[in-house]
Amino acid sequence: MRKVWYIIQREYLSRVRKRSFILLTLLLPVLVGVFTVVMVKIATSSGEKLQIAVLDESHLFQDKFRGLDVGETLRFDYLLDTTLSYEKLKKTYAEKYDAFLYIPKMDVAKNVEVTYYSSSELGTVTQTRIEKAISEERRKIVLENNKYDVEIIDQLDKDITLNKIINNEKKQGNSDISSLIGYLCGMLIYIFLIVYGAMVMRGVTEEKTNRIIEVLITSVKPFQLMIGKIVGIGAVGLTQFILWAIFTMIVQTGLQLVYGNELMALQSMNASSQAMQMSEAKQLAFNLTTSLADVDIPRIVFSFIFYFIFGYLFYAAQFAAVGAAVNEDTDAQSFMFPITIPIIISIVLMSVTIQQPSSNTAIWSSMVPFSSSIIMMARIPFHVAWWQQILSMFILVISSLGMIYVAAKIYRIGILTQGKKITFKEIGKWIFY
């Protein structure tokens, strides 16, 4: 047991201390942060201060621009003197304003055309704000002119609420957040299985081709070596995910503090770019927060760690067996194929699952150990019955242990078999040796 511990230590430390590991772990959250900042910067890149004069001939939108100012960077001046022409304004105010917004007299019930005059491009965020302000006011005016009750119309615009009662528990909100979490968890497990499984395989092949195994085998058992490697590399993966989670949170919190305003603006822009009206965006935000509160976070975290560990064990054992059986990395490709196929099928099934989390396909594939770690994880945010999850977990644990047992048999013989071209038939013999 002590020896297994030493092997785990070596496998873990030698990878965690690698420059590539440290870089990747630090860089990814930073990159995500940089990406966010760049997005914010691009979106709000009207650049320096922007002073806009609003020339509203009909005076319909008086006061409507007041709320749109963003600190010092964006300022609207509503000109009360509407007798001035653009040419005249340009001369008089050229130094004071960067742009003019010209709202001609018009029939608001029909086409509304507004003109923006400037020497530089208009940022998307600012454009959205202007459009939204005018469009909301126009809607109100038109409704009032036609003797509609604005409040009733607003009420009608809101989405209906679908209350879900599952297992006598009331669930609020929509499935969007569940889909998102399910998709994210499934995807993370998928990436982890592929990346770290391949790492186990390469590690085993390295020991075999470098003949380190011949030195090691005189002091440790093949099984100890295999388990040590699988656990050590799994711990590396877990460490990486935990560090990513922590660093991403730190970076995002930092960004929130520094770029809070812009991020808000960006979010509202996104919302409006999906052609949503303010009330709807608010509604969605409300839905998201309420359904987030409705998400069983402890259960998701627990399940994620569980499926992460056992899904990994189930597949890493197979990767270790392949690594021991093959002689070169190039051979490995053809033997990896049967292992990766179920993982890739799982990812395809995952999108079906998220659309219909209680379909037969979803239920069955969340039980089969080849796909359960990905599929069950995608189902859990949709409130899977506990008995289903426990059954799935039980099957996965048993299968993982079984897979380790079979892999150990292949590993034991494969790791010491040099030079021969290995066939599936041969590997089959090893299992029953």
Binding site: K3, Y6, E206, N210, I212, V215, L216, T218, S219, L416
Partner: protein
């Protein structure tokens, strides 16, 4: 009592019988040479001793007990193809191997300090294996093999890739270990090392031991009664001499002669002296291990 007793072991892989009824006795405190052409079964034999494989039949006794995994801490094995983690530092790697041999960190450090100093490679301690030359890696591998002070040391081509100075250093360490009581089996194709270092040899071919015993004794057994005679001056020998002595070669002032069945060296000397031929020296030519190797292996084909 024999340190290692191999009794009638056989091992086959698929259709290939790698070892057939091999029996060997390894006595403590000796240096053995394991010879054989490529593919003869040397590595398979070694792997049976290091318990990488188990024989299909027959048994191996270590110190009178049946060979078991617990004995592996008393055996050190350096495979022909070096096995080290390329991206690990020399020191860390040695500590890792030592810990797997049940040393604690402190003991391991002490041992490693001692050997790194002895082999003059202390300054490499913090270098990655992949940054070392092949010969330098070899030295590190050697340290890894002997760190746990094994009773039985099995070295497969320990000198390959080493420069003459490093080879001499390792050779001296091997002899030193032997003097301190380590039994050594080494497998090599370098006959000069066998001649220099081994008291006993085993010659294995096609999975069978075809020759074993004391090197000097084997040489005597295989000698062809050849003598090298160095004449005082370069001269032509008369016909009478040439008829009574079988001259294999005559080059400048050196003669190589073969005694016939009833001849003794003295008889040859007498003939030469009677003919007033002045001699500088006479030496017996014993076959080299290499020659015996070739002769023996070819005779079986």
């Amino acid at each position: 009592m024999a340190l290692l007793e191999i009794k009638n072991i056989s091992k086959s892989f698929q259709n290939n019988q790698a070892l057939q009824n091999v029996s060997l006795t390894i006595l403590p405190n000796k240096i053995y040479g394991l010879l054989g052409p490529n593919g003869a079964g040397k590595t398979t034999l070694i792997r049976n001793i290091t318990q990488i494989f188990y024989p299909d039949s027959g048994e191996i006794l270590f110190n009178g007990e049946k060979l078991q995994p617990k004995h592996s801490n008393q055996i050190g094995y350096m495979p022909e193809e070096r096995g080290m983690y390329k991206k690990m530092k020399v020191g860390e790697q040695l500590i890792y191997f030592a810990k797997l041999r049940d040393f604690n960190t402190k003991q391991a450090e002490e041992k490693i300090d001692y050997w790194l100093q002895k082999l003059d490679i202390e300054s490499w301690r913090n270098k990655n294996i992949e940054d070392l030359s092949k010969g330098m890696q070899q030295k590190v591998q050697f340290v890894a093999t002997i760190l746990h002070a094994p009773k039985l040391l099995i070295l497969d081509e320990p000198f390959s890739g080493l420069d003459p100075i490093a080879a001499e250093l390792i050779k001296n360490k091997i002899i030193e270990l032997n003097q301190k009581g380590t039994t050594i089996i080494f497998s090599t194709h370098r006959m000069e090392n066998i001649e220099e270092m081994c008291e006993d040899i085993f010659l294995i071919n096609k999975g069978k031991i075809i020759l074993d015993g004391n090197v000097q004794q084997i040489k005597q057994d295989f000698k062809q009664h050849l003598y090298k005679i160095s004449l005082a001056e370069n001269m032509q020998l008369n016909e009478k001499i040439q008829q009574s002595i079988s001259i294999q070669k005559h080059e400048n002032n050196e003669l190589i002669i073969q005694l016939n069945q009833n001849q003794k060296p003295n008889d040859v000397l007498r003939i030469l002296l009677d003919n007033n031929i002045e001699l500088n020296s006479i030496t017996e030519i014993l076959p080299t291990v290499g020659e015996i190797f070739i002769q023996k292996v070819n005779s079986i084909k």
